[in-house]
């Protein structure tokens, strides 16, 4: 008797919903938890139909009720245990997710005595899962909206399974154009399509593969990227796909290139200074010796003209060396406050002293009014403009327009645009434009633009170039304005 009471007590206090019904579905007993959930007292529950107790004939629960009924009938008919998960309304009318185990209880003769229902309330688990789903959704949104990176994934067949907004921006291919296509379609013009198998092998082995490479956009433009490939792993540890994450590193490459460029220029400067010095000495001696000899009285005509020719050639060497030295010198400009408009106006008439192709060039001056002063060395800046104007003339063999524009940029710096409508500079030459000894002209030493570059750099400014073959070239010079409180003229 005592044991029965203990068992009954245990059942009543169990955390599961428990009820027992007869072969018709009428409840014979239930525990406290069941009472709590359905919100009815024992005396009302016992003797009632279990399904009507649970669903209370709620309208919206008809299909659930039928499922419940079907499960019960199944248990009654086949007399075998089963389990199912279903939503039932609690006393407040809120859905609870209950995992039911149905245990038909049989007599010794295998006749059905009744059915024991035991239910676990799984509602809180499901809530957690739902919130996990929410996190997934949030992550998905974040990833979709990441624009700094192109994110895309492929499955084991190499087909693109995910393709984010960043990728759309980077490649120029719309999601609809590329999704579920093979990754080679995305990389049809770049190296990735050749490297793909190797890369994926590496990822399989080490979990990760990184490289810097060039991608080609839909419109054919190429740009540098840093690419990281990782893999999806399922719970068994098997690879199920690959994640590609690419970042456009154009800006970083530009900076690296500039640093590389200025380091290269500095190294070249030293080299050139050394060479110039070594050439200067013997040239100096040759020049001095011929000068002395030319002063000899009664020198015969043939010797005199020979010596003159030597002197002329040596002078040419010395002038060339002098150019090298100008290029390599890190001299601090002798600075004064300058009006760039005036410097440009002064330089233009000097052009006629240079051997320029005799073509029709229109000069279009768009000068900033109330131009702010910059601090600089007028001779050095003149040299910059002479060089750039000569280049412009030489680029416009068929004639054209040279536009010189100065702009005060927000009290910070002066912008000078020098544009021609000439032949333009091919991309490769554009890359090396400011390097010394790089010249596309037969008559050039390749020093002009590198001297310009150095001079502008010494003025704490910058010089850049934009060009289109067949359309023309624009040099853009940026020079800082004199700030109030700067030291006076030297």
């Amino acid at each position: 008797m005592n044991l029965l009471k203990t068992i009954y007590n245990a059942i009543d206090k169990a955390n599961s919903l428990i009820f027992y019904c007869d072969s018709k579905g009428e409840v014979l007993m239930c525990n406290k938890k069941f009472e709590d959930i359905v919100g009815m007292s024992k005396d009302l529950i016992v003797g009632s139909d279990c399904i009507s107790i649970i669903y209370k004939r709620l309208r919206n629960s008809l299909s659930r009720e039928q499922i419940f009924k079907a499960m019960l009938n199944d248990a009654l008919k086949y007399k075998r245990p089963s389990s199912f998960e279903i939503l039932i309304p609690d006393k407040k009318g809120e859905d609870r997710l209950i995992y039911w185990r149905i245990n038909p209880i049989l007599t010794k003769n295998k006749n059905l005595q009744g059915v024991l229902f035991m239910g676990d309330d799984n509602t809180s688990h499901r809530e957690k899962e739902a919130s996990l789903n929410n996190i997934d959704q949030t992550l998905k949104n974040i990833i979709l909206n990441i624009k700094e990176y192109a994110l895309y994934t492929i499955n084991l067949d190499g087909n693109i399974t995910y393709y984010g907004m960043g990728a759309e921006d980077m490649f120029g291919w719309k999601r609809s154009e590329i999704i579920f296509k093979h990754i080679k379609a995305l990389h049809s013009y770049d190296d990735i399509s050749y490297k793909l198998n190797f890369m994926l092998e590496q990822v399989k082995k080490t979990g990760r593969y990184e490289l810097e490479t060039y991608f080609i956009k839909k419109d054919g433009q190429s740009f540098p990227v840093s690419l990281t490939v990782t893999k999806f792993i399922d719970s068994a540890g098997d690879t199920t796909g690959y994640i590609f994450m690419a970042k456009d590193i154009t800006e970083r490459k530009k900076l690296e290139y500039q640093v590389f460029q200025s380091e290269k220029l500095a190294a070249m400067g030293q080299l050139v200074a050394g060479i110039a010095h070594e050439i200067n000495n013997p040239a100096f001696v040759i020049s001095g010796r011929t000068e002395i000899l030319l002063k000899t009285k009664g020198l015969n005509k043939e010797l005199r003209s020979g010596l003159k020719a030597i002197n002329l050639q040596v002078d040419q060497i010395r002038r060339l060396v002098d150019r090298f030295l100008t290029f390599s010198r890190k001299s601090i400009p002798t600075t004064r406050e300058l009006d760039i408009n005036k410097i440009i106006r002064d330089v233009l008439p000097l052009l006629r002293y240079h051997k320029l192709p005799s073509n029709e060039i229109k000069i279009n001056k768009v000068f900033a009014k109330n131009i702010l002063k910059i601090r600089g060395d007028s001779h050095q800046l003149q040299e910059v403009f002479v060089n750039l104007f000569i280049n412009a003339y030489q680029a416009m063999k068929e004639g054209g327009t040279l536009t010189i524009k100065t702009i005060n940029k927000s009290n910070e710096y002066l912008l000078i645009f020098i544009s021609d409508t000439g032949c333009g500079i091919p991309p490769l030459a554009l890359k090396n434009l400011f390097l010394p000894f790089y010249s596309s002209k037969k008559e050039g030493t390749g020093l002009g633009l590198s001297i310009c570059y150095n001079i502008i750099k010494n003025h704490s400014g910058s010089i850049t170039v934009e060009s289109q073959v067949g359309k023309g070239t624009t040099f853009i010079i940026k020079l800082p304005f004199v700030k109030k409180g700067d030291s006076n003229d030297l």
Binding site: F284, V285, I292, R329
Partner: protein, 129 residues
Amino acid sequence: MIYKILVVDDESAVRELFEDLFKKEGYSVKTVATGEESLKLVEKEDFDAVLMDVKLTGITGLEALKKIKDLKPEIIVIMITGFGYDEELISKSKEYGSAGYIGKNVPISRIISSFNLFVKTAKEKNRRK
């Protein structure tokens, strides 16, 4: 007036050239190849002027200039260089007391005339002192 000049240059061809040039001008000329040698000679003999190359083997022309001026402040030292016009070298030379600075990139006749001018100006300056 006849000047007594010391030429310091590590290239023998350059030394010989200056020797010939200055002798034609009527100067008395001595030449040495290093800064160290020039110091010894300046200590022993009196010169009106020294023409000193900037780039030398051993001590540099600038160092030799400084030491010579320490030794005999009245001596006129003119620097000459194959580096051409160089701000840093010019300001250093001035600081160490040189009377002038000539680049080897100008015609010989101008080097001589510059040299003469520098010596003349420095002499007058010394006299006024």
